[in-house]
Amino acid sequence: MSAFLALLGRELKLARRGSGNVLTLVLFFVITGAIVPFAVGPDQLLLARIAPGMVWVAAFLAMLLGLDRLFGEDQDDGTLLLLRQADLPLGAIMAAKLLAHWLISALPLILASPVLAVLLAMDLASFWRMLASLLLGTPALAAFGTVGAAVTVAIRRGGLIAPILIAPLCVPVLIFGVGGITATHSGSALLFLAALSLMAVTLSPFAAALAIRSAED
């Protein structure tokens, strides 16, 4: 357990030291959302109607951007090689990575989401639902992202492959995520979202570990 926490602490420390990255991600999230009114016009009713979808698209894109940082540096400086030989099972290492990825690239977005809610003319009730759906859904996005990053870690010019691979897998997350914000069926969609996240978070560390292990054979 202490090794798990140490790894988590290392990831967070690295993110804090180079905090520019996290800030860029949040900025990207907010700007992507804020660009929507320029594209569709400043009509408050229309904006309020498409706001849930836009928030989710912005979060999805921002989390895709953070993917190559997940294993890229560790692969370059050889940390990944050391991690593979650690006492901690590789699955647990991947779980720590997944948790760190969520803390670094999903939590800041959720904290910044009120800005988007104001800009996109969301009412208070949908804002709370959005918060719940982002909290429940982003773990699944992080889990799929971890698998995508692990699968492409051995590819030198694999920057764009991981987003292409995991975008289709993220379709259910987007569907239930947006469904959880719009008022009808909100409850059932949030439950599905939670189930999806639980399943993805449980299974993906093992898949990622398998991919990392076979990447270096």
Binding site: L165, I175, F192, A207, A211
Partner: protein, 253 residues
């Protein structure tokens, strides 16, 4: 040690030698191709001349005889690919790598065909080429997954290492496809529900079912023929790569 002097092994183990597999299955290719051709001639004759028009859709119902078999294959090929992925991961069967790689472009092809014929059929009957309906959407997502897998194969230089990674992703996709299907059904539904395989029997008359089943078999055999040929081509391609590498090494030393 030549193949003759090795101890007798099960057919499963002997198939692990890709050359053996190619030698065994090459005689099958022509008969399979001829069988496919016959099935197509019979099926198309039934489909185009010897089956009634639909009382609502008229002649456009004949698109079904291409659309339904390709849609069936688009899912069947993913199952075949997942089975090969298991073969790669669990038994490290060398032929499974090759079969997995050969199946991906074929899957993408038949999925595209299903979407294309669906669009052609949707225009006269629903009045639109594309509708974000549950089944169409999940087929589109399936196509994206196929294309992603092909992109992943191409991104690796070393195909042996690629096989295990692609296998992992294929299985992750296989777990996800039912979820995707369920979620888009929940999201939107316009496509007609399943009308052939139902517990209370098919809702289609026999005159439409006969050509449909012949065409299903024709397409499946077409796939098997193309699949075998693709496997042979891939085995040969790998042999060429190995020979080239060996030649380059000899030149260097």
């Amino acid at each position: 040690m030549s193949i003759e002097s090795t101890p007798k092994q099960s057919w499963w183990n002997r198939m692990a030698h890709p050359g053996q597999f190619v030698a065994w299955t090459t005689p099958l290719l022509w008969p399979l191709a001829i069988l496919t051709l016959c099935l197509f001639i019979l099926g198309l004759w039934f489909a185009l001349f010897n089956s009634p028009e639909d009382y609502q859709m008229g002649d456009t119902v004949r698109i079904m005889y291409v659309h339904v078999p390709s849609a069936w294959l688009s899912q069947f090929i993913y199952v075949a690919m997942s089975a090969s992925a298991l073969g790669t991961l669990v038994w490290r069967h060398p032929l499974a790598d090759v079969s997995m790689k050969a199946a991906a472009p074929l899957g993408a092809l038949f999925t595209t065909l299903a979407l294309y014929t669906g669009a052609l059929w949707g225009r006269p009957t629903w009045g639109t080429f594309w509708e974000w309906d549950g089944r169409m959407t999940s087929t589109l997502v399936l196509l994206f997954i196929y294309l992603g897998i092909i992109a992943l194969w191409r991104a690796f230089d070393d195909q042996l290492r690629a096989a295990r990674i692609v296998a992992i992703f294929t299985l992750v996709g296989a777990l996800n496809i039912p979820i995707i299907k369920f979620s888009v059904d929940w999201w939107s539904t316009l496509h007609q529900p399943a009308s052939v395989f139902r517990p209370d029997g098919p809702t289609m008359p026999l005159s439409l079912l006969t050509p449909l089943f012949i065409m299903l078999f024709a397409f499946t055999f077409l796939f098997i023929t193309l699949y075998l040929k693709a496997i042979h081509t891939e085995v040969k391609r790998r042999r060429v790569t190995t020979l080239q590498r060996r030649a380059a090494q000899k030149e260097a030393s």
